[in-house]
């Protein structure tokens, strides 16, 4: 399956890896571009608006114009900020976001997928590296709103990582593997079908914890506009700001891809080609998140914490127990 992983590295391999990385990067950037447009259009419709429609036909170039604007904007670093940390924080937040994409199995032939044996763990580990970027950005800005935003985001993401990891555990138990590619392949011939069926509790916990981890409404406390102006990136502008935004949307895509792979059978599906199934499923997850964003108010910090520790964690523990019984008797 992953024959090249077992042979010594040659120049050709290295070239292949670099080309693969660039292709995935471009693919993801384009996806993110239209993800943002889709978000604005979709939420616009929910709010009885038209959404962006000026740049390009049907607003198709809107995001490109926005990115261009951010690129040519002056890069402001506040006088009292810690310059080194301020500059490096967005990169720390952004790089892991792209790194997790290496794990996503887009198609059955997994050309550009790292078939890592600890794939699920790798995802969780990397996504927590980003927290450092958020906290650091909040601290280095030397702004009180940023500081509170950064603290909130750290507390929230650490709390929600636990239920998220535990909800994935059920899938790992059924599949008997942490390799995401194996998990997806397993769902094509599993007796349960896609893992959303035996793992429906796990899926719901995963979705909620994932939304919280993405700092998405109704858990968008770290960037609560009405309280903290913009949270940890209040002081950021220009391309550094774009990095934060980009990492957020890449995580959104990565989260949808992970949910698709773990619970919705990844590329599996009748008639249509695998990559299309993958795209449809992950797009549906992303649309679901947009829908939630347009309709929900924000939770409060203490409620958020007690929800994670008193509801989600017990439920996901219960799910693990159920999964254990299931694999014991079925």
């Amino acid at each position: 399956m992953f024959a090249w992983q077992n042979t010594p590295m040659t120049g050709l391999h290295l070239l292949g890896i670099i080309i693969g990385a660039i292709i995935v990067l471009l693919l993801v950037l384009i996806t993110v571009m239209y993800e943002i447009l889709a978000q604005r259009k979709f939420i616009g419709w929910i709010q009885r608006r038209i959404g962006p429609n000026r740049v390009g036909p049907w607003g198709l170039l809107q995001t490109a114009a926005d990115v261009l604007k951010l690129l040519i904007k002056e890069d402001v670093i506040p006088a009292k900020a810690d310059r080194a940390m301020f500059s490096i924080a967005p990169i720390i937040a952004f790089v892991p976001a792209f790194m997790v994409l290496a794990l996503v199995p887009y198609t059955m032939n997994h050309v550009f997928t790292a078939g890592m044996n600890v794939g699920v763990l790798f995802y969780i580990a990397l996504s927590s590296v980003s927290i450092i970027g958020f906290v650091l950005g909040g601290w280095a800005s030397n702004n009180k709103y940023s500081l509170v935003g950064g603290m909130r985001s750290a507390a929230q993401m650490i709390s929600y990582e636990i239920p998220m990891g535990m909800s994935i555990l059920g899938v790992v138990m059924i599949a008997g593997s942490m390799n995401i590619t194996t998990i997806v392949a397993d769902q094509s011939h599993s007796q349960f079908g896609w893992y959303i069926i035996p793992q429906i509790i796990g899926f719901i916990v995963f979705l909620i914890a994932g939304i919280a981890e993405l700092n998405w409404t109704p858990f968008d406390l770290p960037e609560a506009e009405s309280e903290l102006v913009a949270g940890y990136f209040t002081e950021y502008s220009g391309f550094r700001f774009a990095f934060y935004m980009l990492s957020e949307y890449v995580y959104l895509f990565a989260f949808a891809a992970l949910a698709t792979s773990l619970f919705l059978g990844g590329w599996n599906g009748p008639i249509l080609p695998g990559w299309l199934w993958f795209a449809i499923k992950s797009a549906l997850i992303v649309l679901l998140l947009f829908w939630v964003q347009a309709t929900m108010p924000r939770m409060r910090g203490d409620q958020l914490m007690s929800f994670a520790w008193k509801v989600l964690i017990p439920v996901s523990l219960f799910n693990i127990l159920l999964t254990g019984l299931l694999s014991l008797f079925v």
Binding site: K144, S226, M296, R298, R300
Partner: protein, 368 residues
């Protein structure tokens, strides 16, 4: 165990430029983590000296200045002034003018409460209700535009009546608007009021008792939410409010949720008044017999109305000239704001926004 951890309180300057202070309101909060230790409201960024300016203006000339106080309910401000002058002069107002006033005032109250619902939910992090509320408010604003040529600062009322008469077509539009608005308010109610997250954010937050509300001299929804039945339209009917059938909405607990529900249900009552007024409106003149030069006899006069945010009063001290010697507005937003500090201490930053929003201030009115 005693903690040797070094702790420091943080002073956070909320405003005057901040998304949730609804204007140029500044709040200096001392934070211990996210807990509020102290809060110090700083106002005056929108102060234009309306009361001082009024001393140099004839009574009719003051009317446009009142538009700029509570800019979300300018019709009610107009009325507060002209009502006080009419009360001082003991003027007879033609019936049609009174009915037109009732219609525009109650519609304006609806529009103002719509803005509250939209912005309050925006403060709590829900984006969509804001747009829904504003789309419906737009209908009302368009009607005002049609009758007086302005969407926000109407300058519609005059001492002795109103400036412009309504066409039969306009009255018809009002009649058609009422059931439509009623339906839309029900829709917003359906979409928002049962939301578990919303309820958890506002229930039991910013709570005060009847006695505290009275001690702080609160009025309007802030007072009624504690269960105290006090609405000037019923208690001391002015204009022709005694001819209409409507209920005074009161809350029970005096928390942010009650204030939200009270406002939502008050929209319904205001629509009832508009409906009755639009169906009973008689033909006739819209201006009464008013002397060319309005001179208020020497003395002191106070008349107050139920504004969108509470008791809106005008206190006139006259020395018999065509300009007031002194004009003082009892501005409900300013008075209601006084309890804010007491409500905030001990809360966290997220609750701060929920509490401030529920008090519902308009900075134009706070600063005068």
């Amino acid at each position: 165990m005693t903690s040797t951890l070094h702790k420091e309180e943080m002073i956070l300057n909320l405003g005057p430029q901040h998304p949730s202070t609804h204007g140029v309101f500044r709040l200096v909060v001392t934070l211990d983590g996210e807990q509020i230790v102290d809060a110090d409201p700083v106002i005056g960024y929108l102060h234009r000296g309306t009361e001082k300016l009024a001393e140099g203006l004839q009574y009719t000339q003051i009317i446009p200045y009142t538009d700029r106080m509570d800019y979300l309910a300018a019709m009610l401000n107009n009325y507060a002034l002209v009502h006080a002058v009419e009360y001082a002069l003991d003027l007879e107002i033609p019936d049609r003018a009174e009915y037109l006033r009732m219609i525009v005032m109650e519609l304006n109250r609806v529009a103002s409460h719509m803005v509250f619902i939209g912005t309050y939910l925006l403060d709590l992090g829900a984006m969509s209700p804001f747009l829904y509320a504003f789309i419906e408010r737009e209908n009302i604003v368009e009607l005002f535009n049609e009758i007086c040529g302005a969407r926000l600062t109407y300058n519609y009322m005059r001492i002795g009546g109103v400036k412009w008469d309504a066409t039969p077509d306009w009255i018809d539009k009002v009649r058609r608007l009422v059931p439509m608005l009623r339906e839309k308010v029900k829709m917003i109610d359906n979409l928002v009021s049962g939301n578990e997250i919303f309820l958890n954010r506002v229930r039991g937050i910013g709570k005060f008792t009847k006695e505290e509300a009275l001690n702080y001299s609160l009025s309007g929804v802030n007072l009624r939410s504690t269960g105290f039945r006090f609405d000037l339209r019923k208690v001391r009917p002015y204009g022709i409010y005694d001819r209409f059938d409507f209920d005074v909405i009161v809350g029970e607990n005096g928390d942010a949720l009650d204030r939200y529900t009270c406002r939502l249900r008050e929209i319904e009552q205001s629509l009832r008044i508009v409906e009755q007024a639009a169906s009973q409106i008689p033909e006739g003149p819209v201006m009464g017999k008013v002397p060319k030069m309005i001179r208020v006899p020497a003395g002191e006069y106070y008349a107050s109305i139920e504004g969108a945010r509470g008791e809106l009063g005008a206190y006139i001290v006259s020395d018999g000239k065509d300009k007031p010697y002194r004009l003082k507005f009892h501005r409900p937003s300013f008075v209601n704001l006084q309890i804010l500090r007491k409500l905030l201490i001990g809360q966290n930053v997220a609750n701060l926004i929920a509490i401030l929003g529920a008090v519902d201030i308009v900075l134009g009115e706070v600063d005068g």
